[in-house]
Symmetry: C2
Subunit: 533 residues, 2 copies
């Protein structure tokens, strides 16, 4: 039996576009005499459609696509494809996350029979639990169909009865999960002693990057074919050959940073394409964060499509301006210089009578950041460019950023990277050639909002800060558990307090591309007002 | 048997504060010779704790409170109280939304045995499904315990076996659900033919207002005691008297607006108390939205604690300034006038060379709104006042607001009220006396960002707009379903497009107090990038 895997990039709600993509793969498979072609979870509407699933026109469109596909294929090939199955019970919709097995003009509906509720899945908000055990018969073979990431071995699947497992997923990338997720599936294959065809989607959906990386493994849990990560791909296999095929090493790099780099580039490109924009604008401060954002955007969108705005103040050092100019020169990207002094003076003049007798404080620092935000949004609005946010995850965590100032932006590119990962990624980008001037990477980080300000004035070394934050945010560790690992109690308590106090900022910060298992904004739900843990 | 209901207002994570509150009620009950005192769902930690539940120190603290209560009561009274039950299975936490029945020094744990996943509940993200059917024996009576809002009749509960049902909830207010929610419980009592004691929490948790309104009904589903809404309360009942007691009308007003008014006042007060702030600042435009926000905040916090900032531009009409001044005079609240012209001129001067040849457009309108945002945040930062957001739900829906401009604020007071509800509430506030100048209510709404601008230039009448939005947002109706109700197809399509295109703004808008079943921000989850429905 010849099976094709179509690893595709869909757009949420673009039913016609998704349909054309699907039938293109079907055409290709028919030409290659494929018996069965497999598409990812939720191919018709794309994943995650979230509350769009509550609308009948949305679920109707998904059903229409399935019917169009049946008509189009006209029995020339069999298909397994993910979509929405809607049942009307007592005049109420019941939705199922489903796979449609289309063969000989007949549709067999397979319902997801375990529901996931974690950072990437809210199955219980939308779907009913499927009732059936999911086995199809095809060309004398028994094939078990699994939808979504199976967490535990399904005791009903037995080697004696099942010839092959086919998995349909739409799994987002998370650098700290990707290895485990693949290993878990390989382990399942080994435990079942059944080969697995794992078909995942790719493409960026808002903040999520669906990772791709579909693969085929044999009944020993060894990979024989692994598809591209972060882009569309297509492959075919003769099932008789699965056990005989040469075993391959997984492409999941032990060097995480190259995967993060690929994920971000693909995310940026796709975010712009799906939003209908070509050009970006950002504030270039001379610091490492905005430098990295520019380098990434320039690589993804083309240097000429990313406008840097330099907005020096009286506190900006000359090296900040020089370093910024060196960077845009290296990249060959356009820039504008708009000093913020005159705007700052105007605000100060009008505010001074109202602030009489009150000392200068964080207000004046925020004022500078917010004036920059106003300029950036003016360029974004006037030119029709997307404003890129340049905050990193360490800053977001401890609240080192100004709401409506440097927290502005339609999308953050490095908001899910801790500062230590920012350094690592800059070095990776410079691996062949110094794109990002070395001085930007080596100088002490500073917000330059008051004279001689340094991040280290109020924060510990980023390596220590990031380790504590990772334990707290990604690992849900409480204070005493982190202290048990050898960290200073007062320091950990101070960081916990900073994280708690910055919650209101994260409620309104620019969304960011997610590359970890726990991104702020999308994955971590903390009450706006609370007394902490 | 004498039962007390303690309807209390807890703070998320304030375990010690919650504990003191709980034992105060216990003391009061002991003095009154109560046999059994009932507290709401999740009393120990307060609801909704969201991802704080992932931290062991948080769930440990909940357990500690239960143990402290057992010790404190020393067998003098029996207690049913909501909290978290944590079981360690294979070194992994398993959490249950639980009720603890404390009697004679023993603790019986009752696990929530159905999980809810809707706008207010994400049970499946946190909790395991309880296994037991929840009946306790107390003083010869069989009492069924239900945690959270029971959707359907539990077929296991039979009149012959159960004497009383006790429900523990922490249900937020939603003006379009409150009536139905109470009626459903009364219907259940009638169908079971068993009296119900329904104990709900109260108080504001971030954006949510827990409604209170605990009640006791007899086995015919008739209310015999209904407690206060939106504030703490305490009541006692002799169970023998339930069937003999006088039947009362529910206080749930047919006049929704007075309930919305109460909910907002209580929410504002509690939000400030729990956040540790006393004073507020807002931009007063002369329009109806900011006028209403000021009136509400002044009533909740005291007029002297709400600072209005008037920021006229060249497009501001004289009546806007006059109306604003009349309002602050009516309320006796402080104000500051800061014209934005000089800041606008400065930005224009510095931007002009970069904008050469480009026509004036929405950029210049947004610029005015953002300059106002900068001023408001400067006052907020310098004085330590909370900035109140003044957007309404109709505006948020169609994107009539400037990100980082008038969408700023720590909390929105009327962000979950459609414009027609804004009018209704203003009239209600003026029911005895003209607090809000009539001219503010009667004049045509305008953003005053360009000459002679009116909302009606680009939007239909708010009564039509709001009807369409309500069907779309609260009722999840698709375009064709709304058109079937008699609305113009092009208009509905245009509004759908506006709603879709404004999604990126809602990702970063100020959070708002929730008073409906579907508030933006907390209840509606739409992909950042999508092609609509």
């Amino acid at each position: 039996m010849k099976i094709a895997i179509a690893q595709q990039n869909y757009t949420i709600g673009d039913f016609q576009g998704n349909y054309y993509k699907i039938i293109q793969a079907i055409d290709q498979a028919i030409l290659s005499k494929v018996d069965l072609i497999v598409f990812p979870e939720m191919s018709t509407c794309s994943y995650p459609a979230q509350d769009l699933l509550f609308y009948s026109s949305f679920t109707d469109s998904s059903t229409d696509i399935i019917n169009q596909i049946v008509k189009y294929t006209n029995n020339k090939i069999s298909i397994i494809i993910g979509g929405i199955y809607r049942k009307n019970i007592h005049q109420k919709f019941h939705l199922y996350n489903a796979a449609f097995f289309i063969s000989q003009g007949e549709i067999q509906i397979i319902q997801k029979n375990y529901l996931l509720n974690d950072d990437n899945n809210e199955d219980n908000r939308y779907f009913e639990l499927g009732e059936n055990f999911n086995i199809i018969q095809f060309q004398g073979q028994k094939i078990a169909i699994q939808i979504g990431n199976v967490q535990n071995i399904d005791s009903k699947i037995k080697k004696s009865e099942i010839d092959l497992i086919i998995q349909l997923t739409s799994t987002p990338y998370a650098h700290d999960l990707i290895d485990m997720q693949q290993k878990r599936i390989l382990n399942h294959a080994q435990q079942y002693q059944i080969p697995i065809i794992h078909c995942n989607a790719t493409g960026t959906q808002g903040q999520l990057v669906l990772k791709g990386g579909s693969f085929i493994c044999n009944s020993k849990g060894q990979i024989i074919n692994e598809m591209s990560y972060f882009k569309e791909d297509f492959c075919m296999i003769e099932t008789e050959n699965i056990e005989k095929s040469i075993i391959k090493e997984s492409n999941i790099s032990s060097n995480q940073i190259s995967f993060i780099h690929q994920a971000l580039l693909s995310a940026i490109k796709d975010f712009f394409e799906k939003s209908g924009f070509k050009k970006a604008v950002l504030g270039l401060s001379g610091g490492i964060d905005s430098a990295l954002v520019l380098a990434l955007a320039a690589e993804a969108l083309g240097s000429e499509n990313v406008l840097s705005v330099l907005m020096p103040s009286q506190y900006s050092s000359q090296h900040s301006i020089d370093d910024s100019l060196a960077l845009v020169k290296n990249l060959g990207s356009p820039h504008i210089i708009v000093p913020i002094q005159s705007a700052f003076n105007t605000f100060e003049e009008t505010l001074t009578p109202h602030f009489a007798g009150l000392p200068s404080n964080v207000t004046e620092e925020n004022l500078q950041a917010r004036i920059r935000g106003v300029y950036l949004m003016a360029f974004s609005n006037k030119f029709g460019y997307i404003l890129l946010n340049t905050s990193n995850k360490s800053e977001s965590a401890v609240g080192y950023g100004t709401l409506y100032g440097d927290l502005c932006g339609a999308i953050g590119l490095i908001g899910d990277l801790y500062k230590t990962q920012v350094y690592e990624l800059c070095k990776y980008i410079n691996r062949d050639k110094e794109m990002i001037p070395l001085n930007i990477i080596t100088k002490a980080p500073s917000a330059e909002l008051r004279p001689d300000q340094k991040d280290s004035d109020s924060l510990p070394d980023y390596s220590i800060l990031d380790s504590i934050l990772y334990l707290h945010i990604e690992q849900n560790k409480s204070l005493h558990e982190i202290v048990e690992q050898g960290y200073d109690k007062d320091l950990v308590a101070r960081i916990f307090k900073l994280v708690q106090n910055a919650e209101f900022k994260r409620y309104q910060s620019a969304p960011s591309i997610k590359v970890s298992s726990r991104a702020f904004g999308s994955d971590r739900k903390i009450p706006l007002v609370n007394k902490g843990i």
